[in-house]
Amino acid sequence: MNHASPLALDIGDLVKRYDTGTEALRGVSLDIKAGEFFGLLGPNGAGKSTLIHCATGLAQPTSGTIRIFGHDAISDYEQARLAVGLAPQELNLDWFLTAEETLDYHAGYFGMPKRERRERARELLDTFSLAAKKDDRTRTLSGGMKRRLVLARALMHRPRLLILDEPTAGVDVELRLELWHYVQRINGEGTTILLTTHYLEEAEQLCDRIAFINEGVVVATGTTDELAGEYGVTSLEDAYLGLVGRKELSRAHIGTDVG
């Protein structure tokens, strides 16, 4: 018998059609192995966030299946969601709460006992240099601090699958590198990571495998080299430009445009 450990995320033929008629996902299939660092790349509006929302209960799939560590995200949502931590793209913090309360309530929603919540919150506030701001309301935090807090919140309940939806959009160089180091470390410790980003060097540096998604369909999956090979180019960026049909923008052409 095959006793292979279940996939961290197993998506089969996922379709999401909004009430407006827009078909954001048109039969997406994807699998992410436990322990993998997986990148999801695609242009704005490709369906990356919709896919993430379907996996975390924020959007309801029209059809298809989503399993998280073997638990169906719809029929067994309690177990499925316990395994996932989501750091969304928008900084969706509650203005009324302090930084520490934000972490404490989140862990409470995931059933973590008080003492454990306190310890975990202290640990993450220290890790993300937020300890001095723990009693400040989230509204008063800087953009970078809010970004750190959203990430700390996602990690509070020790998820086995961490989903990072464009975590480094608009953050400064130090924070970006800080995040890279941190997520690489927890990936090394066993946390599976799904990352969406527009920074291709970020995906190249961090991800074991990458999927290209465009117009609601996964068009290619593989390592950086495999994707470059598939598009007959030498870099991930050129492969991406091949995907979106903008090969003429390749850096290889810069400097040769004039004349």
């Binding site: 909004y18 919709t50 929302h53 975390t56 209960g57 924020l58 959007a59 309801q60 949502y77 309690e78 177990q79 969601r81 316990l82 996932v84 989501l86 969304p88 928008e90 969706n92 913090l93 509650d94 203005w95 009324f96 709460l97 309360e101 404490d104 309530y105 989140h106 409470g108 929603y109 995931f110 059933g111 973590m112 006992p113 008080k114 919140r153």
Partner: protein, 255 residues
């Protein structure tokens, strides 16, 4: 505590924490408002008004004011809290947690219910210091007030979930709830109204709520107590069922 209990307690704690953090606005202001009503309608005008059905006017009005404060606060807390969290998308933190739709609905409901209860209890305590307020039928009063609180907590959740902008909440409060509550007989006895208004009042659900609460305090009612309790329970259950359906289907909460 089990994980499920911790989860539910955290959801409720968040709602209570929200209104306590802005208690000047959420508890202080409604208390002041109630006292303005008592001063104007009770002390100032009341001295010029004869007794109503053998009861001092100010005493006749206070049960309705207590009920009104519970109702309005339960409504406005839940509608504002849900809309504000939807607006900031902070509600996604609860929606993507393992909490069930029923747990989420009950937790949001309890926030407003408890805020209304606090304001109503403070109004009751303070009124008792100012006037001699009897409690004739405590076994009717307690369930009646709790049902009214839960009914308006459900209305608040319903409006909050449906609302897309803050205007939607204030329109519901100003153009539907306030008129229903005022015309339900908080400040007067419906038996004093000329026709057709007296008959029309009987179609206002708040009329039965006020009569139940007034009966609980003063022993005076114009409506059948048992029938009113049954109807109020049914209406509350129906509203709860509608909200449960919205939470299960994810209406305007999950895309």
């Amino acid at each position: 505590m089990t994980a499920a209990q911790i989860r539910f307690f955290s959801l409720v704690r968040r709602e209570v924490n929200r209104f306590l953090k802005i208690k000047r606005q959420t508890v202080g202001a409604p208390l002041l408002e109630t006292f303005l009503y008592i001063s104007v309608f009770g002390a100032a005008l009341g001295s010029r008004i004869d007794k109503l059905h053998g009861i001092d006017y100010v005493v006749f009005v206070i049960p309705g004011l207590i009920m009104m404060s519970w109702a309005i606060n339960a409504f406005s807390n839940n509608s504002s809290s849900i809309l504000q969290q939807k607006f900031q998308r902070a509600i996604d933190d609860q929606l993507s947690s393992p909490a069930s739709p029923l747990e989420l609905l009950l937790a949001f409901s309890l926030g407003g219910f408890l805020r209304g209860m606090i304001v109503a209890l403070l109004t009751f305590a303070a009124s008792s210091l100012l006037v001699d307020l009897p409690v004739e039928h405590v076994l009717v009063l307690v369930p009646a007030l709790a049902l009214v609180g839960f009914f308006f907590a459900q209305v608040g959740v319903l409006i909050g979930v449906r609302a897309e902008q803050f205007d939607d909440v204030s329109v519901a409060q100003t153009f539907v709830l306030q008129p229903l509550i005022f015309l339900g007989g908080v400040f007067y006895s419906a038996s004093l109204l000329p026709e057709p208004f007296q008959t029309l009042t009987h179609f206002n659900p708040v009329y039965y709520m006020i009569n139940l609460v007034r009966y609980g305090f003063l022993g005076y009612t114009e409506a059948n107590v048992a029938l009113s309790l049954v109807l109020l329970s049914l209406a509350t259950l129906a509203l709860f069922a509608v909200n449960r359906h919205l939470f299960v289907s994810g209406y305007k909460l999950r895309a």
